[in-house]
Symmetry: D3
Subunit: 252 residues, 6 copies
Amino acid sequence: MAALADLTRTEARSVAPQAIAVLPIGATEQHAEHLPMGTDAMLVGAVLTAALDEVPADVPIVRTPTLPYGSSEHHLFSAAMSLRPTTLLPVLTDLLRSLVVTGFRRLMIVNGHGGNDEIMRLAVKQTALEHPVAVAAASYWALGAPDAATRVPGHAGWFETSLMLAYRPDLVRERRSVPVGDPPVFDRPPWPGLVVEKHGEWARVGGLTDPATDADPDTGRDLLSRRASALAGAIVAFDAATTEFRTEGTTA
Amino acid sequence: MAALADLTRTEARSVAPQAIAVLPIGATEQHAEHLPMGTDAMLVGAVLTAALDEVPADVPIVRTPTLPYGSSEHHLFSAAMSLRPTTLLPVLTDLLRSLVVTGFRRLMIVNGHGGNDEIMRLAVKQTALEHPVAVAAASYWALGAPDAATRVPGHAGWFETSLMLAYRPDLVRERRSVPVGDPPVFDRPPWPGLVVEKHGEWARVGGLTDPATDADPDTGRDLLSRRASALAGAIVAFDAATTEFRTEGTTA
Amino acid sequence: MAALADLTRTEARSVAPQAIAVLPIGATEQHAEHLPMGTDAMLVGAVLTAALDEVPADVPIVRTPTLPYGSSEHHLFSAAMSLRPTTLLPVLTDLLRSLVVTGFRRLMIVNGHGGNDEIMRLAVKQTALEHPVAVAAASYWALGAPDAATRVPGHAGWFETSLMLAYRPDLVRERRSVPVGDPPVFDRPPWPGLVVEKHGEWARVGGLTDPATDADPDTGRDLLSRRASALAGAIVAFDAATTEFRTEGTTA
Amino acid sequence: MAALADLTRTEARSVAPQAIAVLPIGATEQHAEHLPMGTDAMLVGAVLTAALDEVPADVPIVRTPTLPYGSSEHHLFSAAMSLRPTTLLPVLTDLLRSLVVTGFRRLMIVNGHGGNDEIMRLAVKQTALEHPVAVAAASYWALGAPDAATRVPGHAGWFETSLMLAYRPDLVRERRSVPVGDPPVFDRPPWPGLVVEKHGEWARVGGLTDPATDADPDTGRDLLSRRASALAGAIVAFDAATTEFRTEGTTA
Amino acid sequence: MAALADLTRTEARSVAPQAIAVLPIGATEQHAEHLPMGTDAMLVGAVLTAALDEVPADVPIVRTPTLPYGSSEHHLFSAAMSLRPTTLLPVLTDLLRSLVVTGFRRLMIVNGHGGNDEIMRLAVKQTALEHPVAVAAASYWALGAPDAATRVPGHAGWFETSLMLAYRPDLVRERRSVPVGDPPVFDRPPWPGLVVEKHGEWARVGGLTDPATDADPDTGRDLLSRRASALAGAIVAFDAATTEFRTEGTTA
Amino acid sequence: MAALADLTRTEARSVAPQAIAVLPIGATEQHAEHLPMGTDAMLVGAVLTAALDEVPADVPIVRTPTLPYGSSEHHLFSAAMSLRPTTLLPVLTDLLRSLVVTGFRRLMIVNGHGGNDEIMRLAVKQTALEHPVAVAAASYWALGAPDAATRVPGHAGWFETSLMLAYRPDLVRERRSVPVGDPPVFDRPPWPGLVVEKHGEWARVGGLTDPATDADPDTGRDLLSRRASALAGAIVAFDAATTEFRTEGTTA
């Protein structure tokens, strides 16, 4: 694994035809009363770092800097640094296009924030349509096994709080938040598969999806390890599934 | 159920505070050698019509005209009338905003085309953030029960061909297509939950995701009926979950 | 005449080099107290259908789905589903471009709503500049003979009400609207050829341009028939004037 | 009449509530072999200057600087300084909005270039919708009487050449152009009222619409005088038709 | 020197490969109580005219019409005709692109308004990236020698008032403005090189940066002459530095 | 100093009315053969960190995550991850707006990449116009004293290489680049104050502005220290100059 930020241009162009360029994206937004605003960017970085430790050396990876800002318009009721969807989409397509121009033929976004999900998918599709490349995207919590039996991950609740207790316990405040009233409708739609959004819902529930009170560091370590393994598995699978895009030459 | 196109302005404004405005969106794009290009718009209309028959009369519905065009950039390799994603997003937010201005407080998009999915979700989120309303969205094949045991729906394959054999058999050509080579990677990602797009993949497989050869009208009738019931269930559930947005007065 | 929605991709690409692709566009907006909101989309469809009956078989036509939404910002004071001008323009250029990519070389927009007029013209010009094609556009009421002696067509008044009494009498409410006060300035400018718009003018006059009281079905049938003939004439004339864009081969 | 460029801010704000702000817009583009590229901006200025001489003093006018650039994409086959339509539209709405913010309540665009026509109309409509003002627009050649009997005005042909022979004979080259082949289809559509654009049409005919050979300065002087009178008449009529937007106070 | 507005297309295309196309841009905005709103457009024109008198004949120049409108959002608190930054940027790139299409290979913007500065720089960079040309830009007051010893130029103060007293004394009102309170922070940042903007600052100081009271026509004549010489020097230097972009042939 | 990423929402909103929010922005782009692609993001972070050590505790600072991507279109000839200018501008205005919504009244961008400069200035101006806040911006190398006597800073040459030798010597490759041929014209314009851009100039000179061969770590340490002191001085000065925007209460 190499960090693009540490490579010279010639090193980057040399490894580009073989490597998978991995772009982590996060968010900076309110996470209730007990988690820091950088939670999403921190966790996507942590999971990716652990995953890359598991990826075999013959799968060449170039990790790009984490984009610490995502689309968090729904958290501006409280506190966030948010890119509007119409801003984030060209950010992602510009960055993916840049990687193509630099010589990469296999690209991957690893996402740490739910609000980025649709925009990431659109950027992946558009890039693969416009350029002769293979592009993947994964929200780290949404990848399948080896993590089948956990509860549904949410925002600032059991899942993220456990992960933060494992990764950055110094940043988890003692008094943990619990949601107010009924669970938010976007998380528990009244019919399976139905997308439902109500005005003011995030503010109504207090900015988190489920209680953080039963989070614990052991669970967090387990979740982190399993999420990392899932992501490593996905990266290896993407590599294997896209060998026809791997070129042995160097980008001139 | 009322059709917005048939209402006068005063009738529309009168029913708006109570009703759910339902906007069906489709696509016009290649569906292999045996299905017509209007398949998606036809099917979303058929499923919605059947669903509305099942919705009880005390759930007031205003059905708006079907948008027959969606985001089909990935089908332009062959034949399509496509809106770019950056065009479709303001189309949907403009239309939803119009409904809000007209007095509606509960809005729903029913979608018949996979390529619209992310854009529809973004439009729903943006509208609910900006206006004091509740907004839902459903891709008709993606709603949960009463339809649990079917195969994965695809493009121009078993699922859509069966539905068309039930709904418009006159438009299904005899010689049905089968995909070329391996299944497309976007449909069978190499890791569960991973999004993967390869340049040229739709053209490579011949423009459909799975063989249409074992489609049959009985299955189609069953699928249509179950999808309609699921959609009816979702509509009723959305109504029940958003009573606080239902106003008894008339929009002046 | 073929409906694009009914064709397979191969049929579409096969007929594309010879045919004229005709895209009808309408609107969904208030039409005073007596006409339904779908009036414009209904009427453009009706006129086009009647016109295509008159077009000789050796003028190959592919009719695309009607776009039921137009630019109706000026009707949002009451009720409309409107696309902003900056949304409608890329909608039209995207759709025209799609038809070019699909193999068509002769394109035509038939328009049913005054608010679309300028945007339609811009889309036509831009498409003909960017692609090696011929593009036409017609607002159905604005075509010349065989209809010289009628009154000026307006919005929700004598013209449209007569047409609806002929085409969909079931949708015309009994008590017909009349404008309030002086005629709207945009319709009767204080100097011939001067464009004038006043803030609030549509609301002031009550949302229609002239009294609907003297509309009658016989006039409507006559208008419909003459408008259809004019449109048929225009289509045939466009065909004859663009033979150099008609290719005999098939789009591969 | 006052020139906005010559006024101080306080003078501008003082006259704004009563005055009509008049914005002339032109173009800089090829005008065949015998007319200069600035023809449109020159002529709109000349006609407006002559018109304002005829407007009575009790119709207060503030003339803004002429925008010398318009939408001339169709002349880039040869030579032009062109704003794309999607650039010119916000230019006009930005400028009209600025005038509203500065205190004007009655605005008018006077246009010297056919390619600006639709965009000007869209800008006028949008401004009148968004602000409590009255907005007019006139293409100087398209205003009605006192000029009924002239030939159809075109581009770089009899009409404009005659005007330039009257206004700036020093800039008219001796050897005057004539169009090549059949008249351009956009000027002589194959059916009255049909808009038709063919790719490459401007280049095919040589960049002008009709022969310049029979233009003469006497006709030009007559045309200029009649066009000026028509524009003066339109301005006075706009003033009379919008007295309710005329405020006697000063914009603070 | 030739004025593009006076040239025919063939003359323009003939001189384009050798010449430098110079586009002057100004603004129309409040200049306190004593200067007219057109000050910036007037002065950039005056300086350019005087500069071109000094440029030797073997440096071929084509002067394009002055754009009289710039980005003056910060003057709308009082009076301006302003293009938003996102409008002005495509205006400039559209115009520069047009010149490239017309055959020019060396382009220059001469600017008369501070608010245009960053946008002009972006347009220059983008144009030089996209097209095989050399592009220059100069704010006339910001060029170096032969003018080293003057005071800092400002808005509507000593500098511009002196220039106007020299160039258009008839337009300078007698009672000259002085700023209110402390100098504006954008002009006198609290640390050298720091950019600082405070909300409402232009209104607070009264719309000018420094007192106009000690301006005088002799200084203005001197400033005008020195600024013109500096601009002439810059043009000649740009010509000499870009000979490899000067083509001897004619643009067909 | 607090890192926004480490704060909870309530902590962020609590400190917002008093604090200066500082947003560091960098770039990821080629830096010749000897410096890593992350140089600009690394250096702006290093200088800011050192500067904040010097800022007194009574100047409350909230440091936001570094944006590691900037506008580097001119480095895509080799290798970069670049945001187009029209992407970066809304990124910055979105982020600044978010900080305003979160309760901050004093904002500052610290920039590490020349290509961001104009866009940063536009974002600062727009934000201060639209919101009741004070906004500052500084390119760290462009601040005045305490650093007066150094050479002109460039790209990948003496200045940045010295800084990297001090800050991350492990990432500086041994064989240092020197420019090819004459210095780039954008760095040494042919006339003082003239902006000049030539197509292909960055590629011609080899991607750096001046030789890196005489860079050394001692100079780098000195530069870093002086740049940090200058930035600290600027921050303190901005604080002192904007006390009227400092509110003692807490953002609810």
